[in-house]
Assembly symmetry: C2
Homo-oligomer: 155 residues x 2
Amino acid sequence: EQPIITGIAMQDNQTKFTLHGVEDTPGNASGILGPIGDAGIDVDVIVQNVSVSGKTDFTFTIGNSDAKKAQKILESNLIKVNYDKLIVNNEIGKVSIVGVGMRSQSGVASIAFKTLAENNINIQMISTSEIKITLVISLKDMNLAVKSLHKAFNL
Amino acid sequence: EQPIITGIAMQDNQTKFTLHGVEDTPGNASGILGPIGDAGIDVDVIVQNVSVSGKTDFTFTIGNSDAKKAQKILESNLIKVNYDKLIVNNEIGKVSIVGVGMRSQSGVASIAFKTLAENNINIQMISTSEIKITLVISLKDMNLAVKSLHKAFNL
Ligand SMILES: C[C@@H](O)[C@H](N)C(=O)O
Ligand SMILES: C[C@@H](O)[C@H](N)C(=O)O
């Protein structure tokens, strides 16, 4: 099945929260997102990779307008969730390659990664699905990223 | 916009590769996926979280039948990509909550996380999009995960 790229989407008004060093045991993902959701905060990207030493990082992005509220919750309203450090970054941009049939994404993802590498743009986060390859990069790199990806995918 | 959950998808024939301690500098994501893609290996989930100390983990899943080939490439065919350790795990299962309008995912993700937590199922990896919340868990937890998620979402 040949992937069809339909567009490059971008978002530059988000804040990324990383709970660094969350214990990788049942209940912590729920313990973090529960209070955030209860406060009516919409969450966009959620990324968590595997733990290598019993601890992992739990990262999510939200709109800038909810950032203060979210920070307060994470710093004082979590129940039974331990983490080492909270990292907040609003100098991020989200760029997504949107398409269909990206089931075997290696080809499309490879082109995207290569394009950014050639433009010396660092990829901070990656999260993929059959219809979307989502990349979080530095806000300052956004224009160049979107422009070069459009060119790379003939859009 | 109210999210509509259309189903719980599962996959139990994948192998997860984690390159632990990849330098978080431009070119490494491309350096890893390029050779994998060139070998005709289809990649399913790709997850990379932020680096906290200049290094990060790059994880992807592929079908079990490609695992031997992928391992060989990662151990000897990468060019200019340094990493500390390669972690291979085929005792994993992928369970996804599929729907539409999960733009504000906190509600749906919260229910999913809570359901697994209540069943003492550890969530190893998380990757989300508007149409899919993808969770990687232990293979042995798959049946219970799928059953309890069906119940939680009234499917
Ligand atoms: C880190 C967090 O996701 C944990 N593994 C959990 O299942 O809740
Ligand atoms: C780790 C890897 O993703 C790196 N940041 C890159 O841009 O290629």
